[in-house]
């Protein structure tokens, strides 16, 4: 079936099956900033925004985003340079494989709570695993971006 949606503010079309994941649609279209992690909706590596809400694109079926407004890290980095700056300046990463998901979670957090406490940020980021950093620098980055 033909999927029509908007990705990063641009019209987007792709041929998909009823069982194709949004993750595979995005990556097949060259948007490889969204990474594949656990593929069961636990690790958060594949987080994107659908209608402004963070979702695990590995579990989100492509037909469900028909007509939706989707944002990936590539588009968000252009739209919100302050978000990228916060992760760069607070060293909110090491290996970087979880970083696109953390960035998208931070972008989603900005819609919900401003400003947030560290505890709230930590709860918000619970769905985005990081094995490298111990999280403190990621929380710092998110707090910086949120204006805390």
């Amino acid at each position: 079936m033909r999927l029509r949606a908007e990705v990063n503010g641009q019209p987007f079309e792709a041929e998909v099956d009823s069982t194709t994941s949004l993750l595979d649609v995005l990556r097949s279209a060259g948007l490889t900033g969204t990474k594949e992690g656990c593929r069961i909706g636990v690790c958060g590596v594949c987080t994107v925004l659908v209608g402004g809400l963070p979702v695990s694109s590995c579990l989100y079926l492509a037909p469900c985003v028909e007509g939706a407004d989707i944002w990936t890290v590539e588009g968000m980095a252009e739209r919100e340079p302050a978000l990228v700056d916060a992760f760069v300046n607070r060293e909110g990463m090491q290996c970087g494989i979880c970083t696109p998901g953390q960035v998208m979670a931070a972008a989603a957090a900005a819609r919900e709570t401003l400003p947030a406490s560290d505890g709230e940020i930590r709860r918000y980021l619970e769905g985005n695993l990081c094995r490298c950093t111990g999280y403190k620098s990621i929380v710092d980055a998110v707090r910086t971006y949120l204006g805390g």
């Binding site: 290996c95 619970e126 111990g134 620098s137």
Partner: protein, 723 residues
């Protein structure tokens, strides 16, 4: 029930109150930060040249079985499938980092659940996986040997027929045929005599589970034919030069025909030194003549790569009436899994076990570390291999000895930690040993996070000493690009630690140029000499030493390149670095749930090349230690990995992380011109013992098995009440 801090000097030297970095050190942002934060960084799984075929493997559902008929027709009929191959279709070479015992595909029999039996190549990853699922295999099940002790029993079923015949084997025909390797140090009879005369002795056995490194980027390979018999390979490897050699050995190729290309890693922690499916992908690409890519699914990676060894470690330790240790015996038994191929060091063992005797003054000691072949996932190296297990055992043993002797556990350690100029158990004299200083720094921190009302609370301490190695061989190249920028080529991938940024910073300092004027690029194995890869806590010390030589060569060449250096080990001596951690825990008396409220990590440091990277290694290590202490267990039972995905195999989340307090014990003497002590494999090690010691202090229950789950604590408390 609280850890006594009486007499400890208060040294509130937190990281945030440290003086500014030394003059000339500019702590600029990471070289890779912006690309990573904007999704532009390409990892192996993101690469896909035109015409790429995808490979997936059919895996054994059984732990030990003879392979009968294999039917590939149904797989071959799946739309998009190009080839279905079994061991009979492929070269018979074996692969490994030291011991070469692993076939490309299971040959004759399968030795663990998850072993690759057939490989399917297709035009899409989905078609390859569908094909792999359609491969039909007749198995004749054999009795499986799942635990190390059972494997080394006299009449145990054999996992390999003649393991001593494998290239690189460290066992001989007289050994038990299920033995992978054994390290035996010290004098056990001397320890027996010492313990017989000791005032206090404990004899306990501690257990830790199988684990996984937990990197979030599953292992992946992309092999691209580049000429007759030649191939370029992008791989999730931390040791490109060694991988090239290992592929060449396995496939009988000339190593020069294999070029390992640069690509960053999405985490490593020891797991990405394995050979993995690299030889399989290379042989498929050469055979078919097209690029072949294989990306493991996360669940495959968890059940079938090279995780952490489960352990059973008996500790016997005694002290005299004054609390001086008289002897230590550590006897570790590890289930090594079906193949020994993932262990790189010459002993094919885990150096952390032998290192567990380093930190204390010991009149005598005995260390034995046996690894058995078992019908479980092959085990490899994970961040300070063997040390988290062995230090958990020894540091629990020290605490149990303190309890028996009626001596405060901090005081018992203070009396016995090695001092500068003293010799360790192996007779090596360390000019600097700052265990007591590090202990005092750790216990001197005022911990402030309160326990939830009604919970039991206490603190526990644990110590670890690790040598920072002398710099080994590596190679670097520097040139000026047409744009005028300097470009330094390094032989190691950026695994995440910040190594490339450390290189830039050190080079900028040595040349007196702004860091931003230097670009750091990973070279391919075709462009640089040799490097053993990332590991063994050697990157910062090795790279900074080589960078200094590179800068000298650059200046000698008149500031114009290109220049290359291939460094060899010099006369630098290793240095000893201590890490002492204090865990403040709360235990819910109703459920047994343990909450780590606060974790102090005191780290013995010399100079710090890049404080931001250094701190992240400390924090990330500490949280990995928390996972080992409280959460992570692959649940290897009945020949299956039950925690076979990240939903079941729990990694710590942002909300699990306690307040991480770091105290840097400054002023140490490190290694090499940069005067550094390694930090990457320190803070993940003592956490588990510190937590368990705190739980013991809070509840009176001696937890001797990891992870410390609510269930284990609950039943330990109930058993204790029942007497």
């Amino acid at each position: 029930m609280r850890l006594a801090c009486a007499g400890a000097r208060r040294r509130p030297m937190t990281a945030s109150s440290l003086p500014a970095p030394p003059a000339g050190v500019v702590d600029a942002s990471r070289v890779d930060a912006r690309a990573k934060a904007s999704g532009a960084t390409l990892y192996t799984a993101d690469l896909q040249p035109d015409g790429t075929l995808h490979a997936a493997v059919a895996r054994s559902p059984l732990a030990h079985a003879l392979i009968g008929a294999v039917s590939t027709q149904a797989a071959a009929a799946v739309p998009g499938v190009v080839a279905v191959l079994t061991a009979a279709d492929l070269p018979a070479g074996l692969s490994g980092r030291r011991v070469r015992d692993t076939p490309l595909l299971a040959t004759g029999k399968v030795r663990f659940t998850g072993e690759r039996v057939a490989v399917v190549v297709a035009t899409s990853a989905g078609a390859a996986e569908a094909g792999a699922a359609a491969v039909e295999v007749d198995y004749d099940e054999l009795p499986a040997v799942l635990a190390a002790a059972a494997a080394l029993a006299p009449d145990a079923p054999l996992i390999h027929e003649a393991p001593w015949r494998y290239d690189g084997a460290v066992v001989s025909e007289g050994d038990h045929p299920n033995l992978q390797s054994q390290v035996d140090e010290g004098d056990r009879s001397e320890v027996e005599r010492a313990l017989a005369g000791a005032a206090w002795v404990v004899d306990r056995t501690y257990r830790t589970p199988a684990g996984h490194q937990g990197y979030l980027e599953p292992q992946a390979w992309l092999a691209v034919p580049s000429g007759p018999g030649a191939v370029r390979l992008w791989a999730t490897t931390k040791s490109p030069y060694r991988l090239r050699e290992q592929i060449a050995q396995c496939l009988g190729m000339d190593a020069a025909a294999i070029e390992i290309e640069p690509v960053p890693l999405g985490g490593d922690f020891g797991g990405k030194g394995a050979v993995g499916e690299a030889p399989l992908c290379v042989t498929l690409a050469l055979r078919i003549g097209r690029p072949v890519k294989m990306v493991l699914r996360s669940g495959e990676d968890i059940i079938a790569t090279d995780g952490r060894h489960p352990s059973s470690i008996r500790v016997r330790v005694g002290c005299d009436a004054g609390g001086a240790l008289v002897g230590l015996d550590v006897d570790g038994l590890f289930a090594g899994g079906a193949y020994a191929a993932s262990k790189p060091i010459p002993s094919v063992n885990l150096h952390g076990v032998a290192d567990a005797a380093l930190g204390y003054r010991l009149p005598c000691f005995a260390i034995r570390s046996r690894i058995a072949y078992t019908n479980t996932m092959p085990k490899g190296h994970m961040r300070a291999p063997g040390a988290p297990q062995a230090v958990f055992a020894v540091e629990r043993g020290i605490d149990e000895l303190a309890a028996a002797a009626g001596i405060d556990p901090v005081e018992l350690r203070r009396r016995n930690l090695l001092k500068s100029g003293e010799a360790d158990a192996y007779g090596h004299r360390w000019p600097e040993a700052r265990g007591v200083e590090t202990l005092d720094a750790a216990t001197g921190v005022v911990m402030t996070v309160p326990p939830p009302p009604g919970w039991l609370a206490a603190r526990g301490v644990a110590a670890y000493a690790r040598p920072t190695p002398a710099p080994g061989p590596t190679s670097l190249r520097l040139e000026r690009e047409a744009s005028g920028r300097l470009m330094v080529e390094v032989p190691i991938p950026e695994t995440g630690t910040g190594s490339h940024t450390v290189v830039r910073q050190r080079l900028a300092g040595a040349l007196g140029v702004p860091p931003a004027s230097i670009e750091v690029r990973q070279g391919s194995t075709g462009t640089l000499g040799y490097d053993p890869g990332v590991g063994g806590s050697r990157v910062t010390v090795g790279m900074s030493t080589a960078v200094d030589q590179l800068a000298e060569a650059w200046v000698a060449a008149g500031g114009d390149g290109p220049v290359s250096v291939d460094t060899q080990p010099g006369d630098d001596q290793p240095a000893l670095a201590y890490c002492v951690q204090v865990a403040s825990v709360a235990v819910d008396p109703g459920t047994g749930q343990v909450k780590l409220l606060e974790l102090v990590s005191a780290v013995d440091v010399a100079d710090i090349v890049r404080p931001a990277s250094h701190r992240l290694q400390i924090d990330g290590g500490a949280l990995m230690g928390l996972g080992f202490a409280l959460l992570e267990d692959l649940l290897e039972e009945d020949g299956q990995v039950w925690a076979s995905n990240l939903g079941e195999f729990k990694l710590p989340t942002a909300a699990d992380a306690p307040a991480l307090r770091t105290v840097l014990v400054e002023g140490g003497t490190g290694v090499g011109p940069a005067n550094v002590k390694s930090v990457g494999e320190l803070t993940n090690v003592p956490v588990a013992a510190a937590v368990a010691n705190a739980v013991a202090a809070a509840t009176g229950c001696q937890l001797r098995q990891l992870p410390i789950t609510a269930e284990r604590v609950y039943w330990a408390m109930r058993d204790r009440e029942a007497g």
